[in-house]
């Protein structure tokens, strides 16, 4: 059964606030961080073996 949320805010109101906060933080980060002239993905650099940029394990240098 749906219940009234503890903050007495409808999801629509909370959603609007969350959306606004998310985008304000993103815009703030964008305006205060260096930008790349072309969009990038982590897999493009280094010895990446996965989309997140994780390197290929078998090619990692072994620890002393």
């Amino acid at each position: 059964m749906p219940q009234k949320n503890p903050l007495a805010l409808r999801p629509r109101t909370l959603y609007a606030l969350a959306l606004l906060a998310l985008f304000l933080v993103a815009i703030g980060d964008h305006l205060t961080s260096p930008v790349l002239s072309s969009l990038a993905a982590p897999t493009e650099l280094g010895n990446a073996c996965a989309p997140c940029g994780a390197p290929c394990i078998e090619k990692q240098p072994t620890a002393d």
Binding site: M1, P2, Q3, K4, N5, R10, P11, R12, L14, Y15, A16, A18, L19, L20, L22, F23, V25, A26, I27, D29, H30, S33, P34, V35, L36, S37, S38, L39, A40, A41, P42, T43, E44, L45, G46, A48, C49, A50, P51, C52, G53, A54, P55, C56, I57, E58
Partner: protein, 390 residues
């Protein structure tokens, strides 16, 4: 694969009355304040992306918005479809997902093999993949949405996703921290299906596998009286076309969850956590993402655009007015599910989009393993849903 008439439905989402129909007309349900807010945010996003990355940025914002609209408009989810298969034997949603992968493979595999720029999504077959995909499958059933599902449902004002998304973000940061030691436990490296074959041969083998899986799940559904609907076939074709566009423009298959990881890492860094010292964030790719704008990363930018697209669709169809606040147990499940998905996505190199769809469509074995383990995790997730009372 049997196809039903346009009026019959094979997906749970198709059984829901459209808000516009339920209230007697589209004009009566348009949420004008939210439409205005989301439109403004979309214009700002497109403007900033266009200023820095030109046509590429604008194109990816456009593609992300269209994907958000398509997913929201068709309610094209993965979690509910997989649950439907496990609970009722209706394989038609899974059949659609493999058909989508087959359509994407038509572009991804030959273009990657030709070496003309864009390349597919390969990832290691590692112990972390098995653990992470199982966790993700469990989490997506608890949260009632996968990576893309959380994103478009959040954009549609779902109270559950308002909780699941932040926990997904937290989980993916935790996942980024634990990925390096878990990855070191064991890995076979990347395994490409049909690796020794020509581009055409590789495509033929992978298409045969994907279409066989689509046919198998379609047949399983038909045995129980469930058929593919033309509407969802159209949605699948539209999403495949958009995935082709993302592949061409960004040079990589579409991915969702790295954007969440980046958002979380940026927030952690802003509140004083030395996130840049953790191994994951010293790798060149993640390090570059962390030290640049959130709008410079393809996945992150497209996530923002998808929220805008899905939000606009929800505002036009009045979805927000229909949103009820879930009960406390459902919110707890959403939080736990989000956390599991976040950790699982990092350990298994993505979600249903970045690992399953992009992986299988690129001819990478990790995509198939991801599917099997996430489906197994879904079994546990469905059982846990009962513990949470839904």
């Amino acid at each position: 694969m049997p196809v039903s008439s346009p009026n019959s439905s094979s997906s749970s989402s198709l059984n829901r009355p459209h808000p516009a129909h339920a209230t007697g007309g589209l004009s009566r349900v348009v949420d004008r304040p939210l439409l205005l807010l989301i439109s403004c945010l979309g214009i700002v996003l497109a403007g900033l992306a266009g200023l820095d990355t030109g046509v590429t940025g604008l194109a990816l914002v456009g593609l992300g918005m269209l994907l958000g609209m398509a997913f929201m408009g068709f309610q094209y989810g993965f979690a509910s479809g997989w649950r439907r298969f496990l609970e009722t034997g209706d394989g038609s949603p899974l059949s659609l997902h493999f058909l989508l992968a087959a359509l994407c493979a038509l572009m991804f595999i030959p273009v990657s093999a030709a070496g003309i720029g864009p390349s597919g999504s390969l990832a290691p077959v590692s112990l972390s993949l098995f653990i992470g995909a199982f966790m993700f499958g469990t989490g997506m059933q608890l949260a009632n949405g996968c990576g893309s599902g959380v994103l478009f449902s959040f954009a549609g004002g779902s109270g559950r996703m308002l909780v699941a998304l932040p926990f997904f973000v937290i989980g993916s940061v935790l996942g980024s921290i634990i990925l390096p030691p878990v990855l070191a436990l064991g890995s076979l490296g990347q395994v490409e299906i049909g690796a020794g074959l020509s581009g055409f041969g590789k495509l033929a083998v992978n298409l045969a596998l994907l279409l066989s899986a689509a046919a198998l799940f379609g047949w399983l559904g038909a045995r129980r009286g469930f058929y593919l609907s033309r509407k969802m076939l159209l949605a699948t074709a539209m999403i495949a076309l958009l995935c082709w566009g993302v592949f061409w423009v960004s040079q990589h298959p579409w991915g969702v969850t790295f954007g969440f990881t980046l958002w979380g890492a940026k927030i952690a860094s802003a509140i004083g956590v030395p996130i840049e010292d953790f191994t994951f964030w010293t790798w060149p790719g993640p390090q570059r993402a962390l030290t640049h704008s959130v709008l410079s990363d393809t996945s992150s930018l497209m996530d923002f655009a998808m929220i805008i697209g899905a939000g606009l669709t929800a505002a036009v169809t009045g979805a927000f007015a229909k949103s009820a606040w879930p009960n406390a147990r459902q919110l707890q499940a959403a939080a736990l599910g989000g956390l599991l998905m976040g950790i699982g996505a990092r350990l298994s190199f993505g979600c249903n989009i970045g690992a399953f769809l992009a992986g299988t469509a690129s001819g990478s074995l990790h995509g198939w393993i991801w599917f099997a383990l996430a489906l197994a995790g879904s079994v546990l997730g469905i059982r846990l849903r009962a513990r949470f009372g839904f």
